[in-house]
Amino acid sequence: MSAETHSNTESGTITPLLEVKGLRIEGLSEKGWHEIVCGVDLQLKRGEVLGLIGESGAGKSTIGLASMGYTRDGCRITDGDIIFDGLELRTASEEKKRRLRGTRIAYVAQSAAAAFNPAHRLLDQFSEAPVDHGVLSRREAEKKGRDLYRSLDLPDPENIGERWPHQVSGGQLQRMMVAMAMACGPDLLVFDEPTTALDVTTQIEVLKTIKEVVTARQVAAIYITHDLAVVAQLADHLMVLRYGDLIEMNTTGQMLTAPQQDYTRALLDARTRHEKPPSEAAESGALLTINSVTAGYRNGPDILQDVSVSVTRGQTVAVVGESGSGKSTLARVITGLLPPRSGSIEFAGERLPPELAQRNKRQLREAQMIYQMPDVALNPRQRVRDIIGRPLSFYLGLSGKERERRIIELLEQIELSDRYIDRFPGELSGGEKQRICIARALAAEPDLIICDEVTSALDTIVAQAILNLLQRLQSELRLTYLFISHDLDTVASIADKVVVFYAGRIAEQGPKSAVFEPPFHPYTRLLLSSVPEMRQNWLEETLSTREAQAGIAREVKITERGCPFNERCPAVIPDICVSERPPVQTAASGHTFACQHSPKELAS
Amino acid sequence: MKEELISGKITRREFAQRLIALGIIGSSAGTLLTWADKAHAAKRGGRLRAGIAHGSTTDTLDPATYENGYMSKINYAIQNHLGEVDHTGNMFPELAESWDPQNGAKTWVFNLRRGVEFHNGKTLDSDDVIASFQHHMGETKSPAKSLLKQVSSIRKDGKYKVVFELTGGNADFPFVASDYHIAIKASKDGKINPTDGIGTGAYVLKEMEMGVRFFGTRNPNYFKPDRGWFNELEMLSIVDPTARSNALTTGEVDVIDRVDLKTAHLLARKSGIKVEETTGTKHYTFPMRTDTPPFDDNNVRMALKHAVNRDEIVEKVLFGHGVVGNDHPIAPSNPFHAATLPQRTYDPDKARFYAKKAGGSIKVQLSAADAAFPGAVDAAVLYKEHAAVAGIDIEVIREPSDGYWSNVWMKKPWGACYWGGRPTEDWMFSTAYMGGASWNDTFWKHDRFDKLLIQARAETDQNKRREMYYEMQQIVRDEGGVVVPMFANYVFGTTDKIEHGTLAGNWDLDGDKFHERWWYS
């Protein structure tokens, strides 16, 4: 069975392929069943892409799965119809639905790394559905797999299927999942946040694949995301959801240009770049100085090579780069979790002992850290009171009423009411959890806070609120931030100074204004151009740039020789860049970069 | 032997008279030749499979190391001794043809049976006997060594005569010389090979795995013509009582020893199975160390002796398979058992009286383990409850079975103990009641008793002897350090296809000679 033989191919434009009417779904929680999708209608014709947008908890994934006639454990459909190609999925037998899944409706999950079975080779997993459903023979399926890999521009399409999931990079894996979804030639694809967990550069690579599949093969698709800019590149129609309710539905163009609802506007607004006014508190003198630090794990290579950064008191220094570039390693070196192989760290004029165990309580207190995943950064078995209260009693010796008073004060500072004091992290939303993390850091009354990707796990609106909070706190408390992020957009809105990392080396650093204006280091340029913009056709335009063509679909590699970026650089000088270390140059605007090209050449 | 007797080598009358004179056998000379008893029509054939309660992987065939019932039964299957105990408890010659005490029972002459062949073809002679005895004398680990201390010399007087010189007169010497350790084995250059498994016995050892299985076939040249009926003999070591009775019920074996008393009545009810018992010298005791307070005070001992309900212990620990004891070790089956001595009974008032005399309340610990005897812990618990009525506080300590004999017995002030018993009064008293004897587990010393013991040993007048032994029993009963609540029966089970003559009570399973005495119907 393949797409071409379906009975309603000709009539597809008339009858919707998928029709959902009055869908109501309930979820089970501690407090019992409550509605998580409250009467949603949608229609999807063959060849159409529908974007479902909303924050977490909006019910978008639940709707996506329901359109396959599937509900997760702890969910149940209470009302409505789901009609796929004339078949009512709600009442259809489990066996009938099973036969549809994987053949006519396919699913692409958020994290390919989690959704591929680690125990089987990729091609085996590709072939499983077509062979199991009797659509293709094993040989045909494998051939089809290789063909798909090739047509989707995956590297080494003949052999990549022989690899195990963990042997393939995140972006490639995500693309292979798209290929897998296409194995039986489905009529409907459900994409469930397929790029959310990825770097911007990788996101482009995956979006490109999805776009190819959707447009070239004329399948209908539901694309679920919280990022308007991303879905705008693919969808014909957009549906905005919030708490299970439909907020607004329109064509993509209309939605971007003329949003009808406040909430939609807020979503759009959050994706617009907010320039931060330079910190007025910028004082002279470095709070933190990192002097040519080289570091690595156990017997491995140097993850950081000769890194020097200085952070001025009261300022925000952003460290940017793709995953694998060594940003988090830098944080570990500063906190003492990873003693450097060479180099030193000075804090407030005092040289910090390299090892955590050698640092005293004051030194530990002065620098605090906030993590990417608030879920795992908070002990799920401790109440908010204990989480925030511990640094208070540990560092400052507060107890009893005084401590309680201070906890409430801190909760106010992070804009939460004192009702939260007895809650467990499990009872908080993502944004609230991150606020608690901030409060915990503040409780220590630090000078420096290291923010490690603090917004990348959050929805856009929530992330924006957290950034605002951080900025407010900075001005109120004269805090200094070392802000680690892969998202240039975020960085732009908060940083005073930007350090661009690539493969454990500093590619470029300087005042934000200087880094975000030409002359660009080629890598900075790639990063900047990869940030999705809130307009249609941005994807096509970006893909046609030479940066994108050279730079995407490749991973960060640590090298000992030459410029690590040479493989991805559109301006590579073939012999020199491979063998020679790029010289560190200072541009007129006061920022430095490591490149063979002169500032002038790069300015163009 | 009947034939031999008639043929005139030794007249039956002569032989009997000699023995009667010595008090070795009583008036039962008429039943002397049990192994020639043809009252039953015994049949030859079949394989006898027995499940035996003991057996350990550390066992060896060396007679000096025999320590359990499994090796004892193998011992009697493959080897013979100078004399053999019959069903009346009397001793008569086995490999000896006759014996002759001289010099006030200080010199003993043993005439050996002629033409007896070992399994390896060698013919029995004096050298074999002497070498077999010497294995247990001098530098040896043999427990029989202390028995043979009284032997000052052994010499041969021709090929078939061995003469023992003793340090003092002993009318019971044939019993000593027939101790189960002293198996007669083939010698070479004056020495026996203790572990070769070669003897003169009714069965030839074929396979042996220690602690698991013995397999033997009938000795075609066995010197007792009317013994050893089975063609094959297999003995399995089955230590767990339940497993043993299961094996009998399911037909895996034909004979088991030491039937679990708890379920003996249930086993007997099964079709095709017989449960039988014999009363012997086996008794269970609670020896107190009379050299340790508070047991050095005879009032305490008497209080405790009156504080136990022997009937209930026999009923609940032996389930009726035994008789009550009278606080001395001489069994009703022993020749000089003092039947006229009043039976001690449970009397809390008397116990209280003695306790008061001893200075008020008595609070003691009683160590027990089922290694001491099966049900020892239960017996101790019952004792505790009985004594509590008399206001005596006994704390029962369950000791680990492992290492009981080396850690508890003769170490702890009061414990439980097992005695297989001895066929003669002298032997029993000398072993465990004479002052300074190495197994005197009560550390008791009584001058009058010790004097009587020496006198009685060499006394040949039966009546005088009887009087002396009666007095000794009374002394032990009233002044000794031992509580003897019961004599336990040997209880065993067989399929109903097994037949046998009158059972001997000296050991389990017809004197541990079931394999040569029984037959299939």
Partner: protein
């Protein structure tokens, strides 16, 4: 591959170290026990004199540490020594017993492991159904009875009432395989009942634990049949914990069966070890302990290796 070899080599080295520590522990543990072989064998009939002679004959008059060193030197050259009690070569003494023990353990494992996997997989597949609960209750009940009790119950029914099987497992070397299997079926069944619950519960739990993972949801959304999801998607990833539990239970089948051996009169190694401890036959105790410990270490090692082999992340690093 080199990765695995390295781990195996490391584990074997650690295992040898463990064995050394155990041998020390055992020697001096037995040494600390009151009494020695001479006293134990002579039992009630020990006198100071006979004990002295016996000790000299056994070499027990030498200090314990010298005897230990002798033993160690012997072991290093593959010589396990002779039993103190009966002077037999330990290798020979232990050999037959070990074969018996492994036979019974292997037989029980051959029933128990597939059965546990099957029951566990079915329970995972039909979780919270009546079947699931029934199996759960049954297996819990079976492990909550003492082993000897389970054995007696089996004997009651299958040996005494129905007479299908013998009440004791009287095996000797000359028995044919079929006969041997027939005679050891009841002890093997007893052991099966004892170990199956643990393995089955772990199988069920490990599989159910994975059922919430995204790749299982993915498989469901690919329309894969439930049986195949369990067998092909959940089971391979659940193998590591399952194999670990299986290894522990297999070790138990070899090491922990003393009581079953006693009840069925099965001449295994456990019985030999208990006998030898009670008789203080140190070399035999040592040999048995070394064998048991090695079995344990080897099984754990194999579990680790299987965990690695079934985990492509470890087997095929990037």
């Amino acid at each position: 591959m080199i990765h695995i070899l390295k781990i195996v080599a490391q584990r074997i080295a650690l295992g040898l170290l463990t064995l050394l520590v155990i041998s020390l522990f055992i020697t001096f543990g037995v040494e600390l026990l009151p009494g020695d072989l001479a006293e134990s064998i002579l039992g009630q009939s020990a006198t100071p004199e006979t004990v002295r002679v016996f000790r000299a004959e056994l070499g027990l008059d030498k200090p314990a540490h010298l005897r230990y060193l002798d033993w160690l030197a012997g072991m290093a050259t593959g010589d396990m020594g002779v039993s103190l009690a009966n002077k037999r070569e330990i290798s020979e003494l232990v050999g037959i017993r070990l074969a018996n023990t492994l036979f019974l353990g292997g037989f029980a494992a051959a029933i128990a492991v597939p059965l546990a996997l099957l029951l566990g997989i079915l329970a995972a597949l039909y979780r919270n159904s009546f079947y699931d609960r029934a199996v759960n209750v049954f297996t819990l009940t079976s492990i909550s009875f003492p082993e000897f009790f389970v054995a007696y119950i089996l004997i009651l029914f299958f040996a005494i009432k129905f007479g299908w099987f013998p009440g004791i497992s009287n095996v000797s070397t000359e028995l044919a395989l079929g006969d041997k299997l027939y005679r050891t079926l009841l002890p093997a069944a007893t052991l099966t009942l004892v170990v199956v619950a643990h393995m089955m519960r772990m199988t069920r739990a490990a599989i159910i634990n994975l059922l919430a993972s995204p790749y299982i949801e993915m498989a469901r959304l690919k329309g894969i049949r439930p049986t195949r999801i369990i067998l092909r998607h959940a089971l391979p990833n659940a193998l590591a914990p399952i194999v670990n539990v299986i290894a522990l239970n297999l070790a138990y089948l070899v090491v922990g069966v003393v009581i079953v051996e006693v009840v069925f009169v099965y001449p295994g190694l456990g019985q030999l070890l208990v006998d030898s401890v009670s008789k203080r036959d140190v070399p035999v105790v040592q040999a048995c302990s070394m064998i048991f410990a090695s079995v344990y270490i080897l099984l754990n090692l194999s579990a680790d290796v299987i965990s690695i082999i079934t985990n492509p992340r470890l087997l095929h690093p990037r």
